[in-house]
């Protein structure tokens, strides 16, 4: 299949995207690196000069730093868990013949159409608000004390909101993958006496493994950078209970206007993200070249 001939061509065809991304990566990265060693506060032009690793030190000694790393992992992990499992379940459900399939599909994928800050606003104000959110209304209907989601379960609430936004993405990719499963293989498995569950485990799941991997990897990258939802709902609080790395950087970058500190935070975030990515690649990457 892959002959020398196509390989040469392949290099050529990859060139544009690789070059573009190289520039897109290197230029800001170099500038960020440079800033991260500078004393550079937007609001204070008088502060400048080389500071060595001070920005880094300052960033990781932030009282919120370790909790924010942990929160980041919980957020990513929680959302991945919900979206992947939920996505598979819903994809399987939508793959069945049902009445009004088209409408159901559009309903299921529509949360993806909502801009993240808007989604956070909707959930915060209309669904989860302990005073006049729908959930509160439901609790009250059952005579229960409404839950103050953002105060009692801040990180969980954010996981729910973010998972709601990303569930459609997972569902859609998995559904498309599911539908490319060869019909005759399914038939063969049926003939071989595999019931629905076995067909799922031995046939569907392996078939979807690449798609699942892609969902996990792409979402991880996005989820590592979630901050708008936090900003709108909890502002990282109470305490640092819902501060993640991205939000911490936001605090440094856009509240403190400490471009140097933010740059250092960015570099730290990139390093951590790479660790996560390498770990993930180890865990699921082999599914890619199957």
């Amino acid at each position: 299949m892959a002959t020398q001939n196509t390989k040469t061509l392949a290099r050529l065809m990859m060139a544009p995207s690789v070059l573009l991304l190289l520039v897109w990566m290197i230029v800001p990265l170099a500038m960020t690196l440079w800033f991260s060693f500078q004393n550079y506060n937007l609001l204070d032009p008088s502060s400048d000069g080389f500071t060595g690793f001070f920005n880094y030190e300052y960033f990781y000694t932030d009282p919120a730093f370790f909790q924010s790393v942990w929160n980041t992992l919980v957020l990513v992990g929680g959302v991945l868990l919900i979206t992947v499992i939920g996505g598979i379940a819903i994809a399987l459900l939508l793959d069945q013949p049902i009445f009004g399939q088209g409408i159901v599909r559009i309903l299921v994928i529509s949360p993806f159409f909502v801009m993240p800050p808007v989604a956070a606003l909707i959930w915060k104000n209309m669904i989860m608000h302990p005073g006049y959110g729908v959930l509160a209304d439901i609790s009250k209907f059952f005579g229960l004390q409404p839950v103050d989601w953002f105060a009692s379960y801040p990180l969980f609430s954010i996981v729910v909101i973010v998972a709601w936004q990303w569930l459609p993405f997972a569902t859609l990719i998995l559904l498309t993958a599911l539908q490319s499963l060869d019909g005759e293989q399914k038939e063969a498995a049926e003939m071989d006496g595999a019931n629905f569950i076995n067909r799922f485990i031995y046939l569907t799941l392996p078939h979807m493994s690449r798609a699942i991997t892609v969902v996990i990897l792409i979402q991880t990258i996005f989820l590592l950078g979630v901050y708008a939802e936090i900003l709108v709902t909890t502002n990282g609080g109470p305490g640092y209970a819902s501060t993640n790395l991205a939000y911490l950087i936001y605090r440094v970058a856009l509240l403190n206007y400490d471009a140097g500190g933010a740059a250092a935070g960015g570099i730290i975030a990139v390093i951590l993200a790479n660790i996560v990515a390498i770990f993930l690649m180890r865990a699921v990457g082999k599914n890619l070249d199957r």
Binding site: E187, A188, E190, M191, D192, Y202, R290
Partner: protein, 339 residues
């Protein structure tokens, strides 16, 4: 254990009526072969029996019980797909082991069965490969392996040997026959290979455009084809069908004589003709000759028959083995019966 009854079964795909209406009884333990031209509905029929397609009408009974609406898994049949349908992400071993795993057989027993099957199928060296790393014939053998490790109530084979070489095909033919003798399981077998059909079948079903033309034992079909279609279809090279004066002289619209029932000579005979093509197979020679007053005739003779294009030859039909057909194509009496 495996009596399959089709009652008035029909199948349409959209507009196309692929199977108008079929009644067929397959007895328990019988080896039934479906033959018929490409596209006549053999695979469709197998798939209907397997439950992979819904019937458009009629009933499918297994051991007298109505299974028309049951799922494939409930029917307990094993099938070799014409297009193999291997599991691409599993190794050959796992492909073959899959049905056993599904049957919750214990590991040691599975291993033994798989190893045995692999040996029979000449696949031992390939057990750890993925299907994509196999040759066409190897893939086909994996598909066979997946079916024969099981003990289903019936086997359904859809052209299982089409991609194998003659030697292997011979071996596999014997293996499948053996399996049949051992297990005495009903087998439904689709093939285009005349030798397979003739040697393996207890009963051959000749299909044409979704209709059954004739059902019978191999020699029955060879000797007394019920109509022109069966006459032309069973036997290779195919029967010469002759119309005109000669046929009329025999009291028929069409007279049929098989190539092997023509006596060839370079000196004398009933008919004279000119050789158009001589195909030398080593063991036989197929001669295509233009016979004066009759037309193109194929004859077969043993070994070498030293003629080439343009040579004059003489042919004498073995009139005891003549087949006669009336205007509607149905056989009259049956000359061939005597043979």
């Amino acid at each position: 254990m495996g009596r399959i009854t089709l009652k008035n079964v029909s199948k349409t795909f959209g507009e196309a009526k692929v199977i108008p209406s079929i009644d067929l009884e397959i007895n328990d333990g019988e080896f039934v072969v479906f033959v018929g031209p490409s596209g006549c509905g053999k695979s469709t029929l197998l798939r209907l029996i397997a439950g992979l397609e819904d019937v458009s009408g009629g009933q499918i009974l297994i051991d007298g019980k109505d299974y028309t609406n049951n799922a494939p898994a409930e029917r307990g049949l094993a099938m070799v797909f014409q297009s193999y349908a291997l599991y691409p992400h599993m190794t050959v071993r796992n492909n073959i082991a899959f049905p056993l795993k599904m049957a919750k057989m214990d590991k040691a027993a599975i291993d033994k069965k798989v190893t045995d099957a692999a040996r029979v199928l000449n696949l031992t060296d390939y057990l750890e490969r993925r299907p994509s790393q196999l040759s066409g014939g190897q893939r086909q053998r994996v598909a066979i392996g997946r079916a024969i490790v099981r003990e289903p109530s019936a086997f359904l084979f859809d052209e299982p040997l089409s991609n194998l070489d003659a030697a292997l095909r011979g071996t596999m033919r014997l293996e499948i026959t053996d399996l049949h003798h051992q297990l005495k399981t009903t087998m439904v077998y689709v093939t285009h290979d005349q030798i397979e059909a003739m040697t393996m079948a207890d009963k051959i079903v000749v299909l044409n455009r979704g209709n059954i033309e004739q059902v019978g034992s191999p020699l029955e079909l060879y000797r007394s084809p019920r109509n022109l279609f069966v006459a032309g279809f069973i036997g290779s090279p195919k029967m010469n069908l002759i119309e005109g004066a000669y046929a009329q002289s025999k009291g028929a619209k069409t007279a049929g004589i098989r190539p092997e029932h023509l006596l060839l000579s370079k000196d004398s005979g009933l008919w004279t003709g000119t050789v158009t093509v001589a195909e030398h197979l080593g063991a036989d020679t197929f001669l295509h000759a233009n016979v004066d007053g009759i037309g193109l005739i194929t004859a077969r003779c043993d070994g070498e028959f030293g003629v080439t294009y343009g040579d004059r030859i003489y042919l004498t039909p073995d009139e005891g083995k003549l087949h006669r057909f009336d205007g509607r194509g149905l056989a009259i009496g049956n000359a061939g019966l005597a043979a």
